[in-house]
Symmetry: C2
Subunit: 220 residues, 2 copies
């Protein structure tokens, strides 16, 4: 089973690596990092470089497609070749998925029109403006289109569809293998649970709500 | 503030990328991926290559040191140069930390002798044999030595010491920025919570418990 993770300049690393860590453990899975051209790709904060081992053209028909998000104008940075590849790959994929603002890229490719989907909480309005029924949920299934909320939500998404692909026993074994027994030190991971002043702080730091944005907050 | 993440052949990606995603958002933080020599480093399953942008020698005195774990004999794969660099770096670091079996490397470097520390649940016995007071907790502080449990625990560890470094407000803002509001589909992330048959399945798949091991389970 081929899992293709599509990289582009300025993606957010954990969006891609969380699901990779889960899906690479599925029996028979082969995860491949792709980009317009094979070669190094820098993350949003320029502090990490991951190698895309193949170009998009080299893997046209993966079973699972995953698009990570990033800050700012991800659709522009992903570019037309990624959008076109996504449209083609979706025709034969078993699952077409995104994490965080990766759903804006799927929407721009025309793959989420009229569908239920989610994104980073700061990007839900933008997703709605793209004609998507944007909902504030952690993981959203609409047929074979699966979208996850911000950054860390990709781990939950991958475990959820790992169970659909290989059964609950395998998914639970993977969860235990990566010791995913989260114990965040605060209850601040969602705008519903975080203290109001933290929500306002983060919203104020995000240019996204003033049109073009970032979810790679470096809180000053 | 320099954060050095030390890579070596066959490390587990999420061990490194979870904390990177948190710590890179700290005000003034600069995360650098280091290895014996600068260049590409492959992860445990050979499906991902990350660039170490600098050699160990190029960053001798980071404020934060982080060592990820991996399957099998991580101490052997890390090698003497990493152990020696860790001993030197620890003399001036503010925090010396590990995720998963990275604690076996810190122990082999002599930095955990007699200290309380943790590791992947499958590696706690091995950690104990290295003279460490190995405990089954998610994140363990012993002075400036901080260790996290398996793979995904690095996110909790990084948020916890982000709060100590920059205060609760910043740590909560980072948590909200990465929307870390975990909703695992199963309660199977720890040997205490997982169904007994899942624990036995995963233990049986791990050569670690029969001496040299793997926590990169690909459950067949």
């Amino acid at each position: 089973m081929n899992v293709a993770i599509v990289l582009y300049d300025g993606f957010t690393a954990l969006d891609a690596i969380g699901p990779y860590e889960v899906l690479s453990r599925l029996p028979g899975a082969r995860v491949t990092f792709l980009a317009r051209e094979a070669g190094p790709v820098r993350t949003d904060n320029q502090m990490l470089t991951i190698l895309a081992e193949h170009s998009l053209a080299e893997l046209p028909r993966p079973e699972i497609v995953l698009v990570p998000g990033g800050p700012g104008d991800v659709v522009e940075r992903a570019g037309d070749e990624v959008l076109e590849w996504l449209r083609q790959a979706d025709q034969t994929s078993t699952w077409t998925t995104s994490v965080c603002t990766g759903s804006l890229i799927l929407a721009a490719a025309g793959l989420l029109a009229g569908r239920r989907a989610t994104s980073h909480w700061l990007a839900l309005e933008e997703l709605r403006r793209l004609g998507v029924e944007a909902v504030s949920e952690r993981v959203v299934f609409d047929g074979k289109l699966v979208t996850a909320a911000g950054v860390s939500a990709g781990i939950d998404m991958a475990l959820t569809f790992a169970a659909r692909i290989a059964g609950d026993t395998v998914a639970q074994a993977i969860q235990l293998g990566i010791e995913y027994d989260p114990q965040p030190p605060f209850d601040a991971g969602s705008p519903r649970s975080a203290p109001a002043e933290i929500v306002e702080l983060v919203r104020g730091l995000s240019p996204r709500v003033q049109e073009q944005g970032t979810d790679a907050l470096s809180v000053p």
